[in-house]
Structures are given as structure tokens and as C-alpha cells.
Symmetry: C2
Subunit: 126 residues, 2 copies
DNA sequence: GGTTTAATGCAACTAAGTTGCGAAAGTAGA
DNA sequence: TCTACTTTCGCAACTTAGTTGCATTAAACC
């Protein structure tokens, strides 16, 4: 069970994800809402939104937690196995709607993948 | 510049990687050599061995640092862009000699990838 | 409005990883 | 083998991400 009460803090976090489509690191989110809510609250809201299938979580290049909006996930069905791209210059992270084919592995059962591409984003290329 | 002096501590760490081919988390390595050397030393030796192209570093599923032996890398050439597999049951990590094709991204320059497959390893499947 | 209980704030904690500095130990050359 | 030079190490203190327990606050439902 994720979000059951639409608190002020929940709405603030939701607004951040609604307003632009970029992924956000937890560190950045905490910074963004500083003064408005406690960091513990941020972590707990993100947990609940993830359970609901509203956002999904993944690790950035430094092993930090990042979150981004889901697209058609629900509490029961999470299907955001898409890869992510992180710019080595500006650190920005994007969700990619690419399909990456994973060759099958004998004697292994692959349930999920975590694919991070790194390099220069379009802003930093010019 | 990586390793310049073959100290006792360096040999201990090297032996761990020589003796079996598995990837090791830094946390696990520190545990393994507890009593023999300080954790700061472990971090510093791993840094130097990585610079030399002796081992390579990547993030496990929890965002922790893992290291494994390189295969034919040198100080000047690092080419271990292979994917890794981590068992969700026993946490073991393996280097995979798979080639994963990444579709090209327009307006992006992809320099490197970090691909982690997760699921059940052969030991945990039976 | 009053009651219930989820959600929040706060402070204290855990754990990974880093830094600075004085002491110890490789290494090369005499 | 001894010395001198410089890398490496140990230690303690620090930084930062993330977690936990508990008392207080505020949604939601009547
Ligand atoms: Mn995504
Ligand atoms: Mn590897
Ligand atoms: Zn960029
Ligand atoms: Zn396993």
C-alpha cells in the first residue's frame, strides 16, 4: 500500500515530477524541498509513490538513488525496464524508451535489468 | 600511476582476486582482510589496482562498489565494458562475456555503459 | 467538530567512503 | 647490508546517503 493521504508534502513532490519529465536524484529532491519538509519525509514519500507505480527508482553512475515518473505502471504491475542515460558532464539523467536486447544466459534466470548509458547529453554536446 | 611498491597488503588483495574469479564488493573485501589491514588501505589499494588495469570497478544492485579482475587491460587501455550479473538470492556477482548491443541514440554521445542483469544464479536455481 | 490513524519532524543512528598526517616499510643506490 | 628517499599504511576524524523510533500533527471520514 502506497499513498493513502494526499498531504501537502505529497503534492509538492508530485508536482516536481509532473512539471518536468527529468529524473531526479533523491539528494536533489531533498535540496529542492528544503524548508518545506524533512528529508525523512522525502524518502518516505518516494517509497510510497514507488509502491503505487507512480515513480520508479534506479541507481545513477555514483550509486546514488534516482527517481523518475512511471508510464503506465500500477501498484500491481511495474514495467519500467527501460535503460537510462546519465551525462558525465552535467549529471542530468534521462529515461530512454529504447529496447535493449539481452542475449539469454544459460543456467541463469534473468528477472530484471539495470542499464545505464553514460556520455554527453544533447545540451553538453554543442 | 597505480601500484609502485609490492607491499604485503597489496599481495594479500591481489591473492584474493587471483584465487577465484568472482567479483567482490569492497565491503566484503574489507571483511576478508580484517585484522590484516585497515579499510582505508583497502580502498587505496583498489584505486591503484584499478589505475593499473588489474581490476575494474562497477556498481552492484544496492549501489555498492564491486571489483573484479580485468582481462587484458592495462594502465592505458581499459576495455571492460562487459555486463555483470548479480543474484537476487545470494548476492553473488559474475562478469559476463556477453556483447550487449546498444541501439544508437541521436544527439547523444555514449562513452560507456553500466549493465547489470539481476535474477537467479545457477547455484540458486536448483 | 470529533475521532481515528496515516504522515510528518526531529534527533539519533548506521554504514560507505574520504581525508590529513605522522609513522612504517619498500626500493634503489652506495 | 646500510642509508636515504618516498610510497604506503594506520588511525582517527570526518562527510554524506539513507534509516529508525517516537512523539506530534493533520488528513479523512463520520
Ligand atoms: Mn526511467
Ligand atoms: Mn566485470
Ligand atoms: Zn549534459
Ligand atoms: Zn545466487
Amino acid at each position: 500500500m502506497g499513498i493513502v493521504r494526499k498531504t501537502k508534502a505529497v503534492n509538492t513532490v508530485l508536482n516536481i515530477f509532473e512539471h518536468n519529465n527529468e529524473a531526479k536524484s533523491v539528494v536533489n529532491l531533498i535540496e529542492l524541498v528544503k524548508g518545506e519538509m524533512n528529508k525523512t519525509t522525502v524518502y518516505r514519500i518516494l517509497d510510497r509513490l514507488e509502491q503505487d507505480g507512480t515513480i520508479h527508482c534506479f541507481n545513477g553512475k555514483d550509486g546514488l538513488k534516482w527517481y523518475a515518473k512511471c508510464n503506465g505502471c500500477s501498484e500491481n504491475h511495474h514495467y519500467d525496464l527501460h535503460p537510462h542515460f546519465q551525462c558525465t558532464n552535467c549529471d542530468k539523467v534521462e529515461c530512454l524508451s529504447l529496447e535493449v536486447k539481452i542475449p539469454s544466459l544459460k543456467n541463469h534466470k534473468v528477472d530484471t535489468t539495470d542499464i545505464l548509458l553514460m556520455g554527453q547529453c544533447s545540451d553538453c554536446l554543442t
